[in-house]
């Protein structure tokens, strides 16, 4: 955790975005994570995505659990309210916040211990409820803050820094999210900001439960030979299904690819996902075949990345609850309190 505030010096050449904010306005406090930590690259991608989306910082709420990854919301979007909650329970806190005010953007940041071990249940249930959120897992396969224990996403056969071999099966959160009906599922790599940033932008624009698993090597405890979450291993085994360009609503779409190379998916808010295909037979709108691809590549020891599944017409929890348009936390007394006349009628029915 940090108590260091960054000096607010703006380079005169920093480009303002559509709202007049520069990238610096989306930064947070100075990170206290280890030098070279993949998580800091993810924070940088979140900052870049918010900047490029012209996001008013206060319209986003960032929530996390406990762990290295869950500390990161202090290091980005310093003008957004943040909530570092309890271990493995960010999904329920985010769900409650979302029900209370449907008008904000909710960014959940978690780790593999936080979401796949202690918090697997809450992860699963928030996804299956269709909470409108962007849920990022910074996945390093290891407990960093407690110095190097295996997490539930560690692959069997993977070796810890101390030389211990993991025998337990790995939980693939992408597979779980697909099974449970997440309407936007992606995987990326903290070492590939060019791939990650548009995925975050698309996830934020997506209505429904958007999940991004970001492999983020732990430079201290899980970046050695024998680990399947090291920079080298992920670079060598990265099987990208597609490259995404995120096109904002109303932006002009120029087609500079040959037929069959590009797929355009229009989301609920009018944003367009332009997918350059890298695997010719991969269809990211087909959930069942996405699950098949995932299992196939996994069996080959490959890490499938890219936008793996999207349902552009997904519904969310508020649709299911049929809640009013006005956020619940802004309803006034006269919209909430039925009054004495209604109470008199109730009294009469109880005699």
């Amino acid at each position: 955790m940090t108590y260091i505030t960054k000096p607010r010096l703006h380079h005169p050449l920093l480009q303002p975005n559509g709202l007049g904010f520069t990238r610096r306005d989306y930064e947070g406090k100075v990170s206290t994570l280890c030098a070279g930590c993949g998580h800091d690259s993810i924070s940088a991608a979140i900052i870049q995505a918010a900047y490029e989306l012209d996001l008013p910082p206060h319209r986003l709420a960032k929530l996390s659990g406990i762990g290295c990854s869950s500390k990161t919301p202090d290091y980005f979007l310093g003008n957004s309210h943040g909530f570092n909650s309890v271990h493995g329970r960010m999904p329920s806190v985010l769900t409650g916040a979302n029900v209370a005010n449907r008008d904000l953007i909710y960014l959940g940041v978690s780790g593999d211990g936080d979401s796949a071990s202690i918090g697997l249940g809450q992860f699963a249930h928030s996804v299956r409820r269709g909470v409108n959120m962007t849920y990022i897992v910074e996945n390093n396969g290891v407990y960093g803050l407690t110095k190097g224990q295996f997490s539930a996403t560690s692959d069997p056969g993977s070796k810890s820094k101390r030389g211990v071999v993991n025998h337990d099966q790995a939980i693939d959160l992408v597979g779980v999210a697909l099974q449970l009906g997440a309407s936007f599922v992606a995987r990326s790599f903290s070492g590939d900001k060019a791939q990650l940033t548009p995925l975050i932008k698309a996830a934020i624009a997506h209505k429904g439960a958007a999940f991004i698993d970001v492999i983020s090597p732990c430079v201290q405890f899980n970046n050695h030979v024998g680990s399947t979450k090291s920079f080298d291993y992920v670079r060598e085994h990265n099987a990208a299904m597609n490259r995404l360009d995120f096109i904002e609503p109303r932006a002009e779409i120029t087609v500079d690819y040959g037929p069959g190379e590009v797929e355009l998916v229009t989301q609920h808010d009018g944003s367009v996902l332009r997918l350059r295909k890298l695997a010719p037979d991969y269809d990211p709108t087909d959930r069942i075949s996405a699950i098949g691809h995932l299992l196939l590549h996994q069996a080959r020891g490959e890490v499938v990345t890219g936008l793996l599944y999207v349902d552009p017409a997904a519904s969310d929890l508020h649709d299911h609850l049929h809640t009013v348009r006005k956020p619940l936390n802004q309803l006034e007394d006269d919209e909430l309190v039925p009054g004495s006349a209604a109470l008199a009628a109730i009294n009469n029915s109880l005699r």
Partner: protein, 610 residues
């Protein structure tokens, strides 16, 4: 000698659960009310859906004693499984009503009671061919027979049948026929008994309602918009009542959309997590649960305490520990709730005495949660929550506004007002908070369960941590003035004896105080309505030599709380503990208190009966 009483006796029904007896028994109880006589009916049921014993105890009391009295004057024994204990529980001179279709050995009866046999099965078999009808109408037939025996007016029951089946009109005639059949058979085969109902006017404008329904309605009036819950007896009906009330009272008339969000969560941890998330974001949110759920929620309750997030928990207490007696009542979560979570924590508790107060406190809890920015526990129990109680009608002052507590607005931030999330600017220990989304450049802060300074910046500095913990104590001191004050019930004479009680014990306690008073044993009563205890509670203890603390748990939990928080000499606080899972009775409390006082009287000043 058989018992004789008018409008003052106890009828108990022994049934098999799942046999359809509940609605017939409920109709019987309601018919007493419609005769203008106060009634208290309690379900004593198993954690099971079909086949196990269940009882329904109806206290009829023109004087308005609505607690359990103890003992049974008329037993309606419809369950062969529990026959022996049911017959044994009848008061000498009391009555046993049973199905006499099958002959029973004389040894199965008592000679000091009057036996009323009616061949219910034979009557049903003759009147109906469908097995389910035979079962269901048997219940209505015994209600008809009892009505004749006790003198309940025919038209009262007939009106109740019409109301009960208003949505299924074709059942009305069949039920009216069954009632008449029971009445006619009783008239032909039995003689009137010493227990009598006579029309009165002692009910007034009171209503008859379950505490869970009332608490849920209180939550609606208290402005709750988010409810997250997980099914658990005996709190489930609170969430279900909130759904029903909201559908009725909180649906946007123009669009049909919901001004509320209710989530059945995957467990109690997620339930309280959703509540904390919604509270953080400025919506009024609650969960309802029972002891096992409170155990699971501990970590979040600590977060709510330390990060200062409003939350409301309705704890409908049941018999613990562990799974305990899930369908029986207790007041055994007091300490669990008061000090929930690790580290140094304390939480305000409210103790409603009946459904009317469940409504009041159900609404008040949300104002307190926003004002104090912490978790408020509303401590019901199964007896209040799941039984219908006769109580004063719900009341609401239309000029009342929801108290949202200290929330700094966009305008205040814009004007440059200093915002420190944990800064005590008013000296009451309560800091201002902001809601997410309030202002593009000001007022954002990072909420965390870790230590931080008044401006919400992370800090492991010892002095900063201590200052914050001391401020939380100051806030708890402020809470004392906001928690409903205790209600005194002074004895007729000046007395060195006092008694403290709370929650569902109240009606039995009040009856006991009347009985004691009539015996010349004077005891001042004080009904505690919440925690932290305000100064009146401590002054009451100070003013008496001996203070009885009556509660429905084994370990004298409220007494512990009084001792610890008030620094009271343990020798001064004498426990009266009824915790067998059935609601405490007036006779039990009376026996316990008079035994202790007379015991003491032998060595000190003797008590003289009037």
């Amino acid at each position: 000698m058989t018992l004789s009483a008018v409008n003052d006796f106890v009828v108990k029904f022994a049934n098999v659960n799942g046999s359809g007896s509940a609605s017939a028994n409920g109709m019987f109880a309601k018919s007493i009310l419609r005769m203008g006589v106060p009634v208290a009916a309690r379900n004593i049921f198993p954690s099971n859906i079909q086949g196990l014993p269940t009882w329904y105890e109806v206290r009829i009391s023109e004087a308005g004693h609505l607690g359990r009295r103890g003992g049974v004057d008329l037993m309606v024994a419809m369950n062969p499984q529990t026959w022996d204990q049911d017959v044994a529980s009848i008061e000498p001179g009391g009555y046993l009503f049973y199905d006499s279709t099958k002959p029973m050995l004389a040894s199965k009866f008592r000679t000091d009671i009057e036996v009323l046999g009616l061949p219910l099965t034979a009557i049903c078999n003759a009147a109906y061919t469908d097995p389910r009808q035979r079962q269901l109408f048997k219940n209505i037939i015994y209600v008809g027979a009892l009505a004749w025996l006790l003198g309940i007016e025919d038209n009262v029951l007939e009106t109740l049948v019409r109301e009960e089946f208003s949505s299924k009109p074709k059942l009305i005639d069949a039920n009216l026929q069954a009632l008449a059949l029971g009445r006619d058979e009783a008239a032909a085969r039995l003689a009137p008994i010493g227990l009598k109902m006579r029309r009165s006017d002692a009910v007034g404008d009171r209503i008859y309602v379950e505490g869970n329904t009332a608490a849920a309605l209180g939550a609606v009036y208290g402005g709750a918009t988010v409810c997250a819950w997980y099914p658990i007896t005996p709190s489930t009906s609170l969430a279900e009542a909130f759904m029903a009330h909201c559908a009725e009272l909180r649906t946007d008339p123009a669009t049909g959309e919901a001004r509320y969000g209710i989530i059945q969560a995957e467990d109690e941890i997620a339930s309280i997590g959703i509540v904390v998330g919604a509270g953080w974001n400025g919506a009024r949110a609650f969960t309802c649960t029972s002891g096992p759920g409170i155990s699971l929620m501990q970590e979040f309750v600590g977060l709510s305490y330390f990060a200062e997030i409003p939350a409301v928990i309705f704890d409908v207490q049941r018999g613990g520990p562990s799974t305990g007696m899930p369908t029986r009542t207790q007041q055994s979560d007091i300490l669990l709730a008061a000090y929930a979570s690790h580290g140094d924590t304390k939480h305000p508790l409210l103790f409603p005495e009946d459904p009317a107060e469940c409504f009041d406190f159900g609404a008040l809890a949300f104002d307190l949660a926003d004002r104090l920015q912490t978790t408020i526990f509303v401590m019901l129990d199964l007896d209040i929550g799941m039984n219908e109680w006769l109580c004063r009608p719900f009341a609401w002052d239309d000029s009342r506004r929801l108290d949202r507590g200290k929330v700094m607005t966009h305008e205040e931030l814009e004007a440059g007002k200093d915002f420190g999330r944990y800064l005590d600017v008013d000296g009451d220990g309560i800091a201002y908070r902001t809601l997410p989304g309030v202002h593009p450049e000001r007022g954002a802060y990072f909420t965390r369960g870790t230590s931080r300074d008044p401006y919400a910046r992370y800090s492991e500095e010892g002095s900063v941590y201590v200052a914050n913990m001391e401020r939380l104590l100051a806030k708890f001191e402020t809470a004392k003035s906001l928690i409903p004050a205790p209600v005194a019930r002074p004895a007729k004479r000046r007395t060195p004896h006092g008694v403290i009680y709370f929650g569902s014990t109240t009606p039995a306690m009040h009856e006991s105080l009347e009985i004691l008073d009539a015996q010349g044993i004077h005891v001042d009563g004080l009904r505690v309505r919440g925690f932290p205890f305000n100064n009146e509670v401590m002054a009451f203890i100070e003013a008496h030599e001996t203070v009885f603390v009556v509660e429905q748990n084994r370990d004298a939990q409220l007494r512990t709380l009084v001792m610890v928080e008030g620094g009271v000499d343990p020798a001064k606080l004498v426990s009266v503990l009824g915790y067998d899972g059935s609601p405490i009775t007036a006779r039990f409390i009376t026996d316990e208190i008079s035994r202790r006082i007379h015991g003491a009287a032998r060595t000190h000043a003797p008590l003289v009966a009037e």
